[in-house]
């Protein structure tokens, strides 16, 4: 367990849909806190995770406005794990599958996200100590 490690994760779930997203980001956060280098390849619906247009909203049922509701946004979680990695001497390289982005019109991502292809996943996996693929159901 000693020494800096490089871990690669492939995520496939769209945000706001499944607990897998939360678990995946928890895992990435743990690795980031250890100062590991972390690669994330976001495939299919997961390219929406860092979508810059995600917005907090009011909740009429709760009777709260957007600020009071303080709805959690995956793009903020992605930014947070990027910051956590940098704070601990690691880096988080987040690659969105370009074809998946184009299909979904999801090109406006938060800073730090780059566009790539499945070939990038292969390169990341080849250069990592380990890889975890978290598939959709």
């Amino acid at each position: 367990m000693l020494g800096k490690k490089t871990l690669t994760f492939m995520l496939m779930d769209a945000p706001f849909e499944n607990a897998r997203t939360t678990t995946a980001l928890r895992l990435i956060d743990i690795a980031a806190r250890r100062g590991y280098d972390v690669n994330v390849f976001a495939y299919e619906g997961a390219v929406y995770l860092p979508l810059a247009a995600q917005a907090k909203h009011a909740n009429a049922v709760h009777g709260t406005d957007a600020a009071e509701e303080d709805h959690p946004l995956p793009r903020e979680w992605v930014a947070a794990v990027m910051e956590e990695a940098a704070r601990n001497g690691g880096k988080l390289d987040w690659v969105n599958c370009g074809l998946c982005v184009d299909e979904r019109g999801a090109s406006e991502s938060i800073p730090g996200v780059r566009r790539g292809s499945p070939a990038d996943f292969w390169k990341m996996a080849s250069a990592s100590d380990n890889v975890l693929v978290i598939p959709t159901k």
Partner: protein, 116 residues
């Protein structure tokens, strides 16, 4: 021989495929691999004390307690248990409570990882 971290996220009472995944864990352990089975999200429901010994739709699959007795290290995510109001003191024999960081430990040590 490779060692493994198998991550089960599904409730076995919802998905019959869970039984196959547990069979895989059992088979790898019988062949001599070190195998950790990490239960997360709804998969921890099967770890409750009093949960049915034999999982549905998986007649040949060993129970979690039997897997543990046969050398599979069965771990249950502490956060998932807490979310579901399951006391860590009310789990099946052989199931150990662990933080999610245990998965990162195994990944960092180079175990082959599978998520279901």
């Amino acid at each position: 021989m490779a060692d493994y971290i198998l991550i089960e996220s599904r409730d076995p009472f919802e998905s019959a495929e869970v039984g196959r995944f547990l069979e895989l864990a059992e088979g790898l352990a019988k062949e001599g691999s070190e195998v950790a089975l990490f239960l997360v999200q709804n998969a921890v429901l099967a770890a409750r004390h009093g949960a049915r010994t034999n999982l549905p739709n998986s007649g040949r699959t060993a129970s979690l307690a039997a897997l543990a007795a046969n050398g599979v290290k069965v771990l249950a995510d502490s956060f998932s248990l807490q979310e579901r109001g399951i006391s860590p003191n009310r789990l099946l024999p052989g199931v150990t409570v662990a933080p999610l960081s245990a998965v990162i430990d195994h990944l960092a040590s180079g175990r082959r990882a599978l998520w279901h």
